[in-house]
Each structure stands twice: as structure tokens, then as C-alpha cells.
């Protein structure tokens, strides 16, 4: 009797215990969920805000022609001229330039760190790259103004050093940490068995790297590149300090001044109002579309794990 009673008691206790555990689990789960919700709500709120403000000038009574906006090559708010095509061109050229120069340098650096360099040297190079990633962009801008622009002034056919070339130089340096770090980790993730197979067939170390390791790390390197594009196209502060920020005209040479999309917003948002302000938001929408395109590309690349021919 006694024993049975006791057993019953412990069972009851256990079930209470289980209940409290369950409730506690639920509470913790809810906290996690709420935390996750903050980012989702933020991104939805930002998109809604930017799009609602930015699309407004193209609807209603005094609607601005969207085609004029997207294909225009002059930004002159005082004369109600809002063309952003030359800015799109500026952003695209600057980004493309940085990628064309930065990706090969970054990839070869990553190969060096992951495959070639002795550990002692890696210990010096890696912190340097991490530091490069941590430098605030205004410092990059200052570096561009102080070092790169004077050099360009000397060699440029144009009077000013602020130019597409200056932007490309600084953006190249700025995307290097992204390219290097991501490429390096994807190179390191290539199974050792591929290297062994290649070396076992009598391939040299370099043949193994270029014919086996890099192709196997292709998707990681590609997503590094795309993230580099995102970084370059979104960079504002450093670019503003060295771009020259022309009020119109598609850049036709690397010596020309440019005015990337980001710069347009950050330079004028402080004092703009009315249509002018809404047009800056519209610029933001264009930028947003680019960034979303970049992100979707990254997601598609990283989800495609095994590529089949």
C-alpha cells in the first residue's frame, strides 16, 4: 500500500516537473522566435518605407515620368530634373572595375593563404586582412583623398583627381577582405581526397590547385564575388569623398567624375524636401533592386550544392 502510494506521488511529481519543463521550453522558443522576428520586421518595414516613398513621385497629378527618371543623365533638383541613368552607369562601372581587379587578386591571395603559405606567414597575413575588413569606410575615403587622388592628378588628362579610377582603386581594396576570406574558406572546404587523387595521378601542387581545388571551390568563390559586388555597389562614405560627384553625364573614361547611386542619396538627403526628397528615395529603390538581385544570386549559388552537367 505504502509503496504504491509513494510511487503514485513520484509519478505526480514527475508529471508536474514535465509540465514546467514544457512551459519553460515554450517560453524559450517564443523568445527565440521574437528575436528572429525583429530582423524580418525590420527588413519588411524598410522595404515598405523606401518603396512607398520612392514610388510616390511617379503617380498622381504631378507625376514625374519614370522613363525620364531611369534614363535621364542629369540630376538638377532646382530645375526639376531627376535623371539617374548616369548614376547607375557610375555605380555599375565602379563595381565592375573593382570586381575585375579585386577578384583575381583576392582569389590568388586566398590560394596563397589556404594552400601555399607556411603557417608562420599566414599568422601575419590573416590578421592584416581582418584588420582591413575592420577599417571604417571614412578612413578608406581619407586614404583615397590623401594618397590616390594626388597620384591620379599627376597622370590624369583631366584637372581633377576625383574620378572613376579613384573609386575603383578604393573599392578594390575594400572588397578584398570579403573575397579573400570567403574564397579561402571555400578552398579549405575542398575535400582532402580530391587533392590526394590529383597528386596521386602525378599532378604537381600548382596543377592540383588550378585544375582541381579551385574548380571544386567554384561556387564559394562565385558567391564571394557576388557579395563583393554587393559591398562595392552599396559603399557610400569612401566613394563620396573621391568620386567627384558630377551633376550629369555618363562617364566615358576612367578619368571622369562619377556619382554613384549611394552618394546621391547621402549627399542631399540631409536638406531635401518634397519631390526632391522623394526622388532620393526613388534612387534608393533603384539601389535596392540591385542589391536584391545580388542577394538572390548569392542564394541561388549557395543552394546549388552539387552541380550536374
Amino acid at each position: 500500500m505504502m509503496v504504491k502510494h509513494l510511487l503514485k506521488n513520484t509519478e505526480a511529481l514527475e508529471s508536474i516537473n514535465m509540465k514546467t519543463t514544457k512551459i519553460r521550453e515554450k517560453i524559450i522558443e517564443t523568445v527565440f522566435f521574437l528575436c528572429a522576428l525583429i530582423s524580418v520586421i525590420s527588413v519588411v518595414a524598410i522595404i515598405a518605407f523606401v518603396f512607398s516613398k520612392g514610388l510616390k513621385p511617379f503617380f498622381g497629378d504631378h507625376a514625374y515620368n519614370f522613363l525620364d527618371f531611369i534614363t535621364g543623365v542629369r540630376w538638377d533638383p532646382e530645375n526639376n530634373q531627376y535623371g539617374v541613368f548616369y548614376m547607375i552607369a557610375g555605380s555599375v562601372f565602379a563595381t565592375a572595375g573593382a570586381i575585375i581587379i579585386g577578384v583575381p587578386i583576392g582569389l590568388l591571395t586566398a590560394v596563397f593563404i589556404a594552400e601555399v603559405a607556411p603557417k608562420s606567414l599566414v599568422k601575419i597575413i590573416k590578421p592584416a586582412i581582418e584588420l582591413l575588413a575592420g577599417i571604417p569606410s571614412v578612413i578608406y575615403g581619407a586614404f583615397g583623398m590623401g594618397i590616390i587622388i594626388p597620384v591620379i592628378e599627376k597622370i590624369s588628362p583631366q584637372p581633377q583627381g576625383q574620378s572613376l579610377l579613384a573609386v575603383i582603386c578604393v573599392l578594390t581594396i575594400m572588397i578584398l577582405p570579403t573575397i579573400i576570406t570567403l574564397s579561402e574558406s571555400s578552398l579549405r572546404a575542398v575535400p582532402k581526397s580530391y587533392r590526394e587523387a590529383s597528386l596521386g595521378l602525378g599532378a604537381s601542387k600548382m596543377q592540383t590547385i588550378f585544375r582541381t581545388v579551385i574548380p571544386a571551390a567554384k561556387s564559394g568563390i562565385l558567391s564571394a564575388t557576388v557579395l563583393g559586388i554587393g559591398r562595392a555597389i552599396g559603399e557610400t562614405m569612401a566613394v563620396m569623398m573621391i568620386a567627384g560627384n558630377a551633376i550629369g553625364g555618363i562617364p566615358t573614361s576612367i578619368w571622369d567624375k562619377v556619382r554613384p547611386l549611394t552618394v546621391n542619396i547621402s549627399m542631399e538627403m540631409g536638406y531635401a524636401s518634397g519631390t526632391h526628397q522623394e526622388m532620393l528615395f526613388a534612387t534608393g529603390v533603384v539601389l535596392f533592386v540591385f542589391i536584391m538581385f545580388v542577394n538572390i544570386t548569392v542564394i541561388r549559388i549557395t543552394h546549388k550544392t552539387v552541380e550536374k552537367d
Partner: protein
């Protein structure tokens, strides 16, 4: 030294840092035979196999004393490691095809060694796949990713990839341990066919496999060769008590 000796191993010691993984190995390995290395895990049989094509060079902190002569040439002194590895091919424990098409996998070695002509590559690829007894299964999907076929097929593609370099020796490091029984039998049949042309050295955990296919067997224990001799003698009439204990399943 007789003419049909392929490898002459003399007092080979191998250390991983302070740990001695191989102790005074002495062995003669004959041409056109299958030599099997058996022994419990960690006995040094795979380590020894990898000294033959110098794959251990890749491991940090490895030190090797003693000599291995291939056709009378010291492979640690008198031959370039790249040349050695194209003469001594290797098939690994896990099938490890590259993430590229079957064709490109098999053509990898020849391309590395400078063959560019399409017709010549086509010929090598077909010949190697035929030799590896997998041509009929893959001839219609040469452009398909080699990692998309079954494990047994992958392993035969890897064997074809090794054959495409036209080595003299094929090292097999437990080539069937990741495969099902049918694939295993196919690889075993293949090994027996290939020994007419190649010298084959196989590491295996599977004692039936060793007794089925090998001509000579070496039993390793704690980094030493306990017994080395004709396979039939090792399995039917071992001289050493330890060998008998191992092959009768008393330990290992």
C-alpha cells in the same frame, strides 16, 4: 636481385613526430603479382602502402629512414616525386572522383601530362574505362557528373582514372571497404585481370579478399611485418602464432 622484383624495401622506419609507425620493414614485392597487406587497424599497413608512392610526404612531421628501391632506383632519392606517382598509381579507400564529368575524370591524368588532342584523349578514356570494366555501364553518360553514379561505379571510374596515366604499379588502399558485395566482387575480378599488366599492392581488412585474390600476403602488427609469404601458406599454414591468431579471428 632477380628480374621480377619490382620493389625492394630495406630497413624502412617511419615516424609521425615521436611516434614510430613503421619499424624496420624489409620486403621484396614481385612484378605482375597481387600482394596483399593485412592486419588490424593502426598496424601500419596503409602507412606503408603510402610510402610506396610517397603520399606520406603530404603529412606534416613525417620522417622516413631506410630505402625503397623500384626497379633498383631509390624512390626517395633518385626519382622525382611527380614521375614516381605517375608510375605508381593509387586507388583510395573512399571512391574520390572529382566533381566533374566521367570523361574529364579519366582524362585528368593524361591532360596533366600534356595530352591535349581530343582524338587521343577519347581513345585513352575509352581504353581505360574498358580496362576498368565499366565502359558498357557509362559509355552513354560520359558527360555526366562522376559523383552521380553508384559507389561501386565511382570506384571503377577511379581505377580507370588511375589506369589512364599508364602506371606500372597500382596501389589499392582498402578499395572495396565502402562498397557492397557485388561491387566488391567486380573490383576483385578486375584486380586479377589487371595483374597481367600491372603490379598490384592491396591493403585490405577483409581476409577472404586477401586469400581470394592475392599471390603474396604480408601480415602487419604494431608497425612490423610479422609474416610475409605465399598467400596460401599464410592462410593455411602460418609460421607465426600471431598470424594464426589474427587470421582465425582471435583478435583484430
Amino acid at each position: 636481385m632477380t628480374n621480377n622484383v619490382k620493389f625492394q624495401v630495406h630497413d624502412l622506419d617511419l615516424y609521425y613526430g615521436d611516434f614510430q609507425a613503421l619499424k624496420k620493414i624489409n620486403m621484396e614485392i614481385l612484378k605482375n603479382q597481387i600482394t596483399a597487406f593485412i592486419g588490424p587497424s593502426g598496424c601500419g599497413k596503409s602507412t606503408f602502402l603510402k610510402t610506396i608512392n610517397r603520399m606520406n610526404d603530404l603529412v606534416e612531421g613525417v620522417r622516413i629512414d631506410g630505402q625503397i628501391h623500384m626497379d633498383g632506383i631509390d624512390i626517395y632519392k633518385d626519382i622525382d616525386v611527380i614521375n614516381l606517382r605517375s608510375r605508381v598509381g593509387m586507388v583510395f579507400q573512399q571512391p574520390n572522383p572529382f566533381p566533374m564529368s566521367i570523361y574529364d575524370n579519366v582524362a585528368y591524368g593524361p591532360r596533366i601530362h600534356g595530352i591535349k588532342k581530343k582524338s587521343q584523349l577519347d581513345e585513352i578514356v575509352e581504353k581505360s574505362l574498358r580496362q576498368a570494366a565499366i565502359w558498357d555501364e557509362v559509355k552513354d553518360k560520359l558527360k555526366k557528373n562522376a559523383q552521380a553514379v553508384s559507389g561501386g561505379q565511382q570506384q571503377r571510374i577511379c581505377i580507370a582514372r588511375t589506369l589512364a596515366v599508364e602506371p606500372e604499379v597500382i596501389l589499392m588502399d582498402e578499395p572495396t571497404s565502402a562498397l557492397d558485395p557485388i561491387s566488391t566482387l567486380k573490383i576483385e575480378d578486375l584486380a586479377e585481370e589487371l595483374k597481367d599488366k600491372y603490379t598490384i599492392i592491396i591493403v585490405t581488412h577483409n581476409m577472404q579478399q586477401a586469400s581470394r585474390i592475392s599471390d603474396k600476403t604480408a601480415f602487419f602488427l604494431h608497425g612490423e611485418v610479422v609474416e610475409y609469404g605465399e598467400t596460401s601458406q599464410i592462410f593455411n599454414n602460418p609460421k607465426e602464432q600471431k598470424t594464426e591468431d589474427y587470421i582465425t579471428g582471435r583478435f583484430g
